[in-house]
Symmetry: C2
C-alpha cells in the first residue's frame, strides 16, 4: 500500500470560492457574464428599493476592442452608497457583507460582487473599480481593488477622493471579465425584462455590447414598503442558534430573553410558556444546562400560543402586481394570484405567492410554463431541480382542475423571506424544504381552484349561450308568425314590436350570457 | 427614505455553511440522512482504495429508541487513518482538509464530514465521536468534538488514548443527526448498491435502522492503480494560479519554473516555448510585470507543443468494468463502453468514460436512462440540471443512431479528474463546462455508433435469417420431389441424404446467420 501521509491544510473562503467558482454560477464565460450582471443588478436594487429609494439603475456591457473575449460591465445605482471604511472589504473580502442580518434582501450570501471580482481577476486580471458616496457624504470615493485570494483580504490598487458637490449618493461598480455575449445575450435580456416586471417603480437602462439600449421606464412612483430587519421566530430555532442568541443577549433572566429576543412573544406569553415547560423565569439563560437547552429548543418549537410569524417586515410583490405582470407578459384569458400567509422556516418568516395564467396568447404546451421568483429576483436556470417544479409537475394532478395537457397554463411562484433555501450560491433553484413545498402546493391549489371555477363557469356559460342562441334565432320567425296570426284579431300587433318583446323575455332569462347582444338579429346575422 | 446604515460584518466559513446548509445537500431530514451517509462513505473509500488498501467499510444507522427523529450514523473503514494532531481540525474546522491537492478523490471540497457534524449539532446537539489510528500508530485515539461555529474551530469535548495492540488502522466516525429513514431509505440503498458496482474490490456492510443487513462482498482482489498527486497542466492556468505558483516556486529562472512546476513540459519544450513568445529563459519569474504575466498565461494556454495531459495519475473505472457493471445491473442485449483520452479543464486532467446498454431487461421509456458517476461516486439527485443530461437529451439526435423513443436505452457517464466542476457542494450535478460537455458528447456518439452498427448488423442478420429460413423451409419438399423424380433414373437418390445436401448448400451461403440450426427441420418445426 502507498501509505503516503495526507497533506492537511486550511484554505481561506476566498480560495474556496476561487477553486469552486462553478458553485457560484461562474461555470463558463456565457454563464459568468449572466451571473455577473445579476449579482451587480441585485446589489443595486437592494441599495435602493430596500431603503425606500425609487431605483435608477444603469447597466452597461462593453466588448474590448482588442481582446474580444473581454467584457467590461458597469452597474450604477442611486442607492444608499457604501460608507468609505467598508468599501475595500465589501468588495475585497469574501464572507464580509451587510446581508448577514434578518432582512429580506436579494443578496443573501454576501458573495456576489466578490465572485464577480474574483472571476475577473482570474480571467482578465484588471482591478475592479468602485465609486461610491453614502447618503449625505460630502465626498465621493473611488477605489480600484483586487482580492488577495490566499489571505482573503482586499488589495487596494489605488484610491481617489472628490468633493460631492451635487449631493449624489449611490454606487458604481466596473469590472472586466471573460464573457461570451452571443451565448449569454438572451438570458441577460430575459433577466432584465423579468426584473423590470416586478419592479415597475424602477428606471432600468441597459446598454448592450452591440450598442443597443433597452430602457424600462418607471410606470409608478409607488414603491412597496421596504423590508425591515426582524428577530427570529421561536418556531424556527435550533440548538446552535439558541446558544448564539444566549451568548449575545443582554437579558439576565430567561423571561426577558424569551420576550426580548424573539418576535411574536410578549411578557404574558413568555411567562405562560416558561411555566408550562417548568422553567424558572428568573433563571439566567447563560446558566442553562445542555439538557435544559435541548428542552428549551423543543418547547420553543412546539408551543402553539406564540403569535404567528409577522409578515410586516417582509416585502412581497402582492397579488395585484402579480396579476398585472402576468397579464402584461402573457396576455392570457384568465389570471389570478394569491399571497399566502407567512410561515416559518428555521426562524425565518417566509411568504409564498402564486399566480396563474391560462389561455389567451399562451401557447399550449406539454408542461406547465413556470415563472420563478425569489425575493423579487427572477430565477432562470436549473428549473427542473427547483421545489416549485416538483410541485407543479409531480404533486398536482392537473386533471382534477380540468386541465388536460397540452394546455396553455403558466404558474408564477414567488418566495420571499429573510432566508431563501437556495440549492446553490448561484441562486438558481430552491431546495425541497417541506414547509415551503407545502406552501407552494397550497398556493397552486388555491389558484388552480379559481381556474377550475372559471373553466366550469365558462363551460356553463357556453352551454347557456348555445341554448339562448338557439331560442333567439327563431325570435324573428316566431314574431312574424304571431304577427300574421294577429292580423285576424281586433288588436293588431306590430311584428317588430313583438320581436323585441319576445327577445326581451328571452334575454331576461339568459341575460347574463348575452351581454353583447342587443337584438335577435345580432345572432341571426352572426350565425347565418 | 429610510437611510438606515447597513450593518457590515464578516462571518466564518463554519457560520456560512451553518446558515446555508441547503447548498451542501442538508435541506431536509431525509436528504440530510442520505447526504451524511454519502459523505462518510466517500471519506472511507478515499482513505482506502486511493491508497491501495482493499476497502472494508461498515455502515450502520440506528434510530434512537426515545427520540424517533434522531439517527446515529456510524461509518468504519480500514483506511490510512488520520494522524492524531489533525483529528480535531479535520472534523472541527470548515475548509481544513487533506483534499486540497491535485489528486483524484471522491471528496473535493473538504466539507463533507464537517457538514454532517454541523447538521448533527444543530438538530441533535451531541458531539461527534471520531476513533482513528494511522498506519503503524501504536495508539488508537478517540475524540468527541463539536464545532465552534463563530470561530470555526473544534471544541474538544473529551479525548481518549488506547494502546493499538492489534495493529489496526482506519477511522470510525459516529454522529447523531435528525433524519427521516422512511423517506431516505430508497436513495440510500441505491447509493450503496451503485457504489458497490464500481468498487467490486470492496467489502461493504450496511446495517439499516430496520435491522436489515445489506452485504456487498469483494468479488475481486484486484484494485485499480490508486490516483496520484500531480502538477497543473499549462493549458489550464489562469492569472491567479500563475501568480500563486510563482510566489511559491523555488525556481529562480523562468525556464526552471516552466519545466519544474507544470506537467507535460521538459527542458527542451520549455526553451522552445519561451523563445517563441520572446521571454528571457533566465529571467526571475518573480520579476515579471503585469503585462508579461498576462502574455505568459495566454501563451501557456495556446502553445500546442506541450505534451498532452497525462492520465496516469488518474484512476478511471475502465471500459471493461463499466461493461461488467452495466451487464450485471441492467441485463441488456447490447453493451459497450469507452474510456476517452484525458482533456484539460483549468489545469486539471479529466477523463470521461461513457457506457451504453440497450434492450434485454431494460424497459423501453420515453427518455434515456442516465447513470451518472463522478470520481467513482454515483450521483442520484438533480439529474436534469447535469451537463450529461443536456448532452443525452438535447445535443444528440438519437434517430440518427436508429433509436426511436420509447426505447430501452441506458447511458452511463463517469467523469474523473483532479477537479470536478460540481454545480453545488452537495456534489449532485456537474456544470456546463464546454470541454466536458464536448467530451461527454463525443463519448456518447462513439458508443452510440457502436450501437448503431450492432442494430444495423442485427437488422441485416434478421433479414438474411428470414431469407435463409424461407429457403430452408422448402428443403424437405424440394428433396422429396427430387427424390421422386430420381426414381426413374439409373442412380437412385436417397431423399434424406439429398435433404441434407441441399441444406448444407444453403447453410454454406447463409451460415453465419444460422448458427443454431443443424437441420432444415429445426426451421420447419419452429415455423409450423
Amino acid at each position: 500500500m502507498s501509505a503516503t501521509a495526507e497533506k492537511f491544510r486550511s484554505i481561506s473562503p476566498a480560495e474556496f470560492f476561487y477553486r469552486n467558482k462553478e458553485i457560484a454560477g461562474f461555470a463558463n464565460p456565457a454563464r459568468a457574464l449572466y451571473q455577473a450582471v445579476r449579482e451587480l443588478v441585485e446589489n443595486a436594487l437592494d441599495a435602493t428599493d430596500a431603503h425606500g429609494i425609487l431605483p435608477n439603475i444603469e447597466v452597461s456591457i462593453e466588448r474590448d476592442s482588442v481582446k474580444q473575449y473581454v467584457y467590461r460591465i458597469s452597474v450604477k445605482d442611486n442607492g444608499i452608497g457604501i460608507p468609505e471604511k467598508y468599501i475595500p472589504e465589501a468588495f475585497g473580502k469574501v464572507l464580509f457583507s451587510s446581508k448577514y442580518v434578518l432582512r429580506q434582501t436579494r443578496g443573501l450570501f454576501g458573495l456576489g460582487a466578490k465572485m464577480v471580482i474574483l472571476y475577473g481577476q482570474m480571467t482578465v486580471g484588471e482591478p475592479a473599480e468602485i465609486i461610491s458616496a453614502a447618503i449625505n457624504s460630502r465626498r465621493i470615493y473611488s477605489y480600484r481593488i483586487m482580492i488577495d485570494v490566499r489571505e482573503n483580504k482586499p488589495i487596494i490598487v489605488s484610491k481617489g477622493v472628490w468633493p460631492n458637490n451635487t449631493g449624489w449618493h449611490g454606487t458604481m461598480v466596473k469590472v472586466a471579465i471573460e464573457g461570451d455575449w452571443s451565448r449569454a445575450k438572451q438570458k441577460i435580456l430575459d433577466y432584465i425584462k423579468r426584473t423590470a416586471i416586478v419592479t415597475p417603480y424602477a428606471n432600468i437602462v441597459f446598454k448592450t455590447p452591440d450598442g443597443e439600449i433597452y430602457t424600462y421606464l418607471r410606470v409608478t412612483e409607488t414603491i412597496p414598503p421596504p423590508p425591515r430587519e426582524t428577530k427570529p421566530h421561536p418556531h424556527g430555532v435550533d440548538l446552535e442558534l439558541i446558544k448564539t442568541m444566549i451568548s449575545e443577549t443582554k437579558a439576565q433572566r430567561l423571561i426577558d430573553f424569551i420576550s426580548e429576543e424573539f418576535q411574536g412573544v410578549g411578557n404574558v406569553i413568555a411567562e405562560r410558556f416558561l411555566t408550562k415547560y417548568g422553567f424558572d423565569p428568573s433563571k439566567d439563560p447563560k446558566t442553562l444546562s445542555k439538557e435544559e437547552l435541548e428542552l428549551l429548543v423543543k418547547a420553543l418549537k412546539e408551543f402553539n400560543e406564540f403569535r404567528k410569524p409577522r409578515a410586516d417586515h417582509l416585502s412581497p410583490i402582492g397579488a395585484e402586481l402579480i396579476k398585472i405582470g402576468l397579464n402584461s407578459i402573457l396576455k392570457p384569458e384568465f389570471v389570478d394570484a394569491v399571497t399566502r400567509k407567512p410561515v416559518v422556516y428555521e426562524g425565518h418568516s417566509i411568504i409564498v405567492e402564486v399566480g396563474i395564467a391560462y389561455g389567451g396568447s399562451i401557447q399550449p404546451s406539454e408542461e406547465v410554463v413556470l415563472l420563478r421568483y425569489a425575493n423579487k429576483i427572477p430565477l432562470l436556470y436549473d428549473e427542473k431541480s427547483d421545489v416549485a417544479w416538483k410541485v407543479v409537475s409531480e404533486n398536482i394532478d392537473w386533471s382534477y382542475y380540468g386541465i388536460v395537457f397540452p394546455a396553455p397554463l403558466a404558474i408564477l411562484v414567488h418566495i420571499c423571506g429573510t432566508k431563501i433555501p437556495y440549492k446553490g450560491v448561484g441562486k438558481e433553484s430552491i431546495a425541497e424544504v417541506p414547509v415551503i413545498e407545502k406552501e407552494i402546493e397550497e398556493g397552486v391549489r388555491q389558484v388552480a381552484r379559481s381556474l377550475k371555477l372559471y373553466l366550469a363557469r365558462k363551460q356553463k356559460e357556453e352551454e347557456m349561450m348555445r341554448k339562448a342562441v338557439t331560442i333567439i334565432k327563431y325570435v324573428p320567425e316566431v314574431a312574424r308568425n304571431l304577427a300574421v296570426l294577429s292580423k285576424a284579431n281586433p288588436v293588431r300587433i306590430d311584428e317588430k314590436e313583438l320581436e323585441m318583446k319576445i327577445f326581451e323575455l328571452v334575454k331576461h332569462k339568459y341575460g347574463e350570457y348575452l351581454n353583447n347582444i342587443s337584438s335577435p338579429y345580432d345572432i341571426v346575422i352572426g350565425i347565418e
